[in-house]
Amino acid sequence: MNFTEHAGKAVLRAAGIPTPQGIIARTPAEAADAARKIGKCVVKAQVPTGKRGKAGGIKLAATPEEATAHSKQILGMTIGEYVVDEVLIDPQVNIAREMYAAILNDPESQGPLLLFSPEGGMDIEEIAADHPDALLQVQINIIKGLDAEALAAAVRRYDPPAAGAITDILVKLYDAYRASDAELIEINPLVQMRDGHFVALDCKLTVDDSALPRNDALARTGSPDKTTELESRAKALHLKYIELDGEVGVLANGAGLTMTTMDAIRHFGGAPANFMEIGGDSYTKAIPALEIVLANPKVKSLLVNFCGAFARTDVMAEGVVNAWLELKPKIPIVFTIHGTGEDEAIAMVRERLGIEPYDLMDDAVKAAVAAAKGARA
C-alpha cells in the first residue's frame, strides 16, 4: 500500500525524525487559513505518486492569496491516476543542502538496503547515474539491526561535520522502516537548513500488503489502489481481479496460470478483458468470480483455464457450470481443464453444458479469441 507524503511524514515523526509542521487543506479557503497561520508556504498535492512537481502539483506561496490561487489550481488536478483532493500547506524552510536517504527491501541481498547520498532533490535513478560516487549503499543484517558506529564511519566520508546528525536520522529511519513493515521508506530531500538542523521535506512510503493486517492503524492512513466498481466488488470478496480493455474474459486458478492465459490470448491475436484468479484458498468462489467477470460489458467470450494442483478443478468447474446455467449468458464459453479432479470436472462440463473442453491450452485460447471476434462482427 502506498502512502501520501503527509501520511508518510507522520510515520517519520513517530520515529523522531523532524519534518515541517504542515496543515492539510481540502478547499482553497482551508488553504488560505493554513497559510495565514504558517506564513510563507509550499502548496503540495497529496497523491501517492511521484513526479508531483513536474506535474505542477507543488507551488511556493508567499501570501494567503497566493496559497488560495495555487490550491484552486492544484485541487482537482489529475496526477498519474489520482485526482488531487487534498493539499499540504507546509512552511518554507531555508535550505542549505539537499540530501537523499532511503531504506528498502533488497531482493539481491535478501535483506534491508540503506541508501544515502549527500546529493538529493532528484530521483534516485538520476543520483545513481550522475553521482555514483556519492551514493552510499549499506546492506543491513536484519537480525543484528543497523550498526550505527559502522554507519557513522561511512557517512563521515561524505560529510564529516554533520555525520553524527545524519547517522541519527538514518537510525531512526530504519526504526520507522521496521515498525511500519515498509517495502520502501524514502526521504528526498533530506534537508540541512541554514541553521544546521535537519528536516525531512518529503516522504515516500510503501508498506508490504502482506503485513497490513498487523498494522491496522497505519493501514487506515494509507491510500488504497484506485479500483473500478467491479474491482471493488471483487476485493470485498477477496478475489484477485483486475479489469482490462480486451474482449476475452479470463477465469483461471493461480497467479502464474492466470497471467499465462492472458499472455496466450494476446499471442493468438486477442486481448484479455480481465485478470481473475481463483486459486489458493479462493477456489470455491467460482460463482461470484464468474458473475464479476461477466458483469464487464466488454466481454465477448469467456475462457476458463483450470490447472489443479492444490485447487480442485471439479469444485471450481461445478461453480462455473452452476453459475453459467443460472446466469444464462449470451456469449460463448471455452474450457481447458487439467490436474486434480479433472475427470469429474470434464465430465460435468460435457454433460451439463454440452461443451467439450480442449485438451491443449493453446487450442482453447485460439477458440476463445475466434469466438470473441465472431461475436463482435
Binding site: R178, T258, M259, G280
Partner: protein, 290 residues
Amino acid sequence: MIIGGKETVLVQGITGKQGTFWSERMREYGTRIIGGVNPRRAGEKHLELPVWASAQDAAKEGKIDAAVMFVPPFGVKEAALDIIAAGIRKIVCLTEHVPVQDTMYFLAAARERGAQVIGPNTAGLVTTGVSFVGFMPAFNARVFQPGDIGVISRSGSLGTLLCLNLVQAGLGVSSFVGIGGDPIIGTTTRDALVALDRDPATKAIALVGEIGGAMEEAAAEYAATMKKPIAAFIAGAASPPGKKMGHAGAIVMGDRGSYAGKKAALEEAGVTVCATPNEVPGVIKARLGR
C-alpha cells in the same frame, strides 16, 4: 533443493486440514514423513505419527533432513526459526502472504546456520516416483511421469500445466523445483538451475519464469555456462506495468523486471524462450534431438 527418497521430513502444522491431507498424499507417494509439530497437541499421535511441541523437540529423537510448513502467514517466522534452531538444513515454506520483513529475518537466520529455504509461496518439490514435499499433484500420472526433464517454476498452477504438457508430448520430469512467487525467496531461479545442472538424472530444463524482479536475468548468466538445453516460458507479457498480478513478485517497475528484458537476457544465454507453455516440450525434444 532436489528432494531425495532417503530424506526424513517433518511437517509443521501437520494437524491442520491441509497439513493432514497433504501429509497423507506425501506418505502414500513414498516421502519419509517422520511426524509433525503442533505445540497444543504435543505427545499425541496424528496419522499414526508423533506430534511434537517444536521442531527442536523432534530433532532430539533423530536426524531430520527437511521440514515443510503448513503454517499461517504470521506464524511462519517463529516456525522457521524453530526449524533452523533444530539444525534442519532444508526448509520448504508453502505459505503465501508472509510479511517480507519476516521472510528476510528467517532467511538471514537460515544463512547463518547453512540451511536452504525453498519459498515462501512455493508449491514444493517433486522427484518423480520417489518423493514430494508440498502440494504438487505428484501422484497424478497425467501430470508427473518419470523422465529426464528438470522443471523450475515460481508458480504451482503454471508448473503443473508445464509438467502436464511434457507428459502429453511423451516426456517426463526428473525433478520439479517450485521456487515461489514472492519478491524475496530463499532459493532463486539461478540456485535451482545450478542444482538441476548438477543433477545426473536431468538432461534438459524447462524454466518457468515471471515478470518482476531480476531472478531470470541472474539465472541467464549461469545458463550461458551450461551444456544442458533450456526452454523457458516467462509469464506476464500481457500484464500492464505497475499492477500486482496475484503474485507479489510479479510487478514491473519502470523497465526493471520487464518481459522484454528477461527474454533478451535468456536468449542471449542460449535459452529458447517460448511464446506459450504448450511450445516448451517441442523445443526441448528438438534440442535433445528426439
